[in-house]
């Protein structure tokens, strides 16, 4: 099986995101629709139900570097969140977060957002005290 090059892979992801084929609980899109390198992306995660995140919408920024998808993207929460895998001052998702640490070429931005959402819903994390809704890093 051949390897889809970075740019065509990102175009695929963009199309999937634009057409809304993905799950309802998260979304992503290009931050700058003029950027031919397709580096900066916006993402959102709808907080999982039965947790302190319920009904919240979290904004994130995702940066897909030149080695994406061989290397994972850099992900930063814009909306303030209290989660062990998120740097409490910068909002950056720590590189030891399991999806980033064990990154595989087959993973997409959607994989990452869904895994972050799952992380919010784990028994250890779902009742964590959260900052006021609407605050940003």
């Amino acid at each position: 099986m051949s390897k889809v090059p970075r740019n065509f892979r990102l175009l695929e992801e963009l199309e999937k995101g634009e057409k809304g084929f993905g799950p309802e609980s998260c979304s992503y899109g290009l931050a700058d629709s003029d950027d031919i390198t397709m580096t900066k992306w916006n993402g959102t995660i709808l907080g999982p139900p039965h947790s302190n995140h319920e009904n919240r919408i979290y904004s994130l920024s995702i940066e897909c570097g030149p080695n994406y998808p061989d290397s994972p993207p850099k992900v930063t929460f814009i909306s303030k969140i209290n989660l062990p895998c998120v740097n409490p001052t910068t909002g950056e998702v720590q590189t030891d977060f399991h999806t980033l640490r064990g990154w595989k070429r087959a993973y997409t931005m959607e994989t990452l957002l869904l895994d972050l959402r799952k992380e919010m819903a784990t028994p250890a994390n779902k009742k964590l005290r959260q900052p006021k809704e609407g605050e940003t890093f």
Partner: protein, 487 residues
């Protein structure tokens, strides 16, 4: 081989494909394999009994309560679908004993496994009836200057199937468990939601099937190699002493004679689509008489159901696919790849001088006779016309399925929209305040545009639609029952 129901059974089919180590001693292997070919009833009995077992096993995994009839029904159909997929994958194995005029009944493997979605039973039938060319093993190159001996040596080295990509990125992370066991529930993470469990089940099933198919084909390829070696041994024995009994053994190998190998590949040509070199005669497009190999032909199909692509006025806002009438979904028959004539079809004129394999003489006894046609001419050679719909008879079912899926989705969207309005009459998009990439439910669904019907009218409409869809569903489920008729 007929499409016996026992073939559907996954567990046994897998064991069947594993060579039993006790069979592998050189002396007994041929006799056992032959026995297998000649007396399928024994195999059939064994397969049928374990089909019963696997159905029983399948039952064990279901909820016994039986209160939820519809969910039990659905489980059954998804299990049936899986069995059908396995049966299909088995049909795609290139078998060295199933040959027609020097070619095979299954493709060599130029295209990926999941793209082999044609009806394998139909295609096998067409090949046996000499209505399309068989699947020949391609040569990467051909050189006019090769001598007869060189060509035969090259053909002898050809595998039954192309090499497989064992480690697909897609299945990198997917556990497959013990392939001998028909179920794999233990591999599914029970902490996931029901929907995710189903998704995981589907992925594991696909990964397992992919792996199984490789093993099935590799086992067949092993048999093929063994037979080749055997044939060589017999040939050298024959050269030493003319022995009638070994000649008898040779008869059931289904391997081509040297004459057949030479005749096949000496007069081949390149397929203009895959650029590989195949024996002739080729299939030809009916419209412009261009050649096409069978492996490429079975890839050509109707476009997936889609909305008509119109030229639009850029000064008007584009319409969303969600707003379109599902009944407008279309799917045109494939065009000719060469001249774009609509309704692509091919014709095939079978060779009359080398009818071998199924419906002909044993391939190992073929002798080349210069100029002479071995078969008495029974008038006009028959030429049939095969379209790409012929080999995918389910295209209409697929189109209708897609239509009802869209209808259901738009009915759901309407329901959500209405329930939102019931809660909050001033309802507008709840999440419209966040930035553009938020999962915004498109507000411009059909209901919001048409003149406002009353709630009662809408409810009535929805109930009617739901009843109609469920009837249609049932109808569709009943229809494909008779598709497994054997040939």
């Amino acid at each position: 081989m007929g499409n016996v129901p026992g073939k559907m059974d996954q567990e046994d089919g897998f064991n069947d494909a594993r060579p039993d180590s006790s069979y592998n001693t050189a002396s007994s292997s041929t006799t056992v394999k032959q026995y297998d070919d000649d007396i399928p009833s024994r195999v059939r009995a064994r397969r049928t009994s374990s089909l019963v077992n696997s159905i029983l096993n399948g039952n064990n995994t279901r909820t016994r309560a039986g209160s939820n009839l519809s969910s039990t029904n659905r489980r059954k159909t998804s299990r049936e679908k899986e069995l059908a997929k396995e049966a299909h994958a088995k049909q795609l194995i290139v078998r060295c004993s199933e040959t027609v005029d020097g070619g095979f009944l299954a493709p060599f493997g130029c295209y990926s496994f999941e793209k082999l979605d044609y009806d394998a039973t139909v295609v096998k039938n067409l090949i046996i009836k000499r209505m399309i060319a068989p699947f020949y093993t391609p040569l990467q190159d051909f050189d006019e200057s090769w001598t007869r001996d060189e060509l035969i040596k090259i053909v002898d080295g050809l595998p039954l199937h192309d090499t497989f990509d064992e480690n697909l990125e897609e299945f990198e992370d997917v556990p497959i468990g013990n392939l001998r066991k028909p179920t794999f529930n233990e591999l599914i993470d029970k902490s996931l939601s029901k929907k995710e469990q189903r998704r995981m089940h589907a992925r594991i099933f696909r990964a397992r099937l992919y792996k199984k198919r490789i093993i099935w084909q590799e086992n067949e390829s092993e048999t093929f190699l063994e037979r080749k070696l055997d044939m060589k041994r017999i040939d050298s024995k024959l050269r030493n002493a003319s022995d009638n009994r070994s000649n008898q053994t040779k008869k059931n190998h289904h391997l081509p004679s040297d004459d057949l190998k030479y005749v096949l590949y000496k007069n081949g040509s390149e397929c203009p689509i895959c650029f590989l070199y195949f024996p002739g005669p080729f299939n030809h497009s009916k419209c412009c008489q261009q050649p096409i190999c069978t492996e490429c032909f079975v890839q050509i199909k109707r476009a997936d159901p889609h909305f008509p692509h119109d030229e639009v006025d850029p000064t008007e806002p584009p319409t969303n696919d969600d707003e379109k009438d599902p009944n407008l979904l279309t799917s045109e028959p494939a065009n000719c790849p060469y001249c774009a004539t609509a309704n692509f079809s091919i014709t095939y004129q079978p060779p009359t001088d080398r009818e071998t394999g199924i419906g002909g003489m044993p391939p190992e006894s073929y002798v080349y006779r210069n100029g002479a046609i071995s078969k008495p001419d029974d008038g006009k050679p028959h030429v049939s016309v095969i379209t790409s719909d012929t080999i995918r008879p389910d295209w209409e079912t697929k189109l209708n399925k897609e239509r009802s899926r869209l209808m259901r989705r738009s009915a759901n969207a309407t329901a959500i929209h209405i329930s939102n309005r019931l809660i909050d009459p001033n309802h507008s998009t709840r999440r419209s305040t966040s930035h553009s990439s938020t999962p915004v439910q498109d507000e411009s669904t059909s209901a919001s545009r048409s003149p406002e019907p009353t709630i009662n009218e809408i409810e009535d409409q929805m109930v009617r639609e739901a009843i109609r869809l469920s009837l249609e569903d049932q109808e569709n489920r009943r229809k494909p029952k008779n598709k497994n008729t054997s040939f």
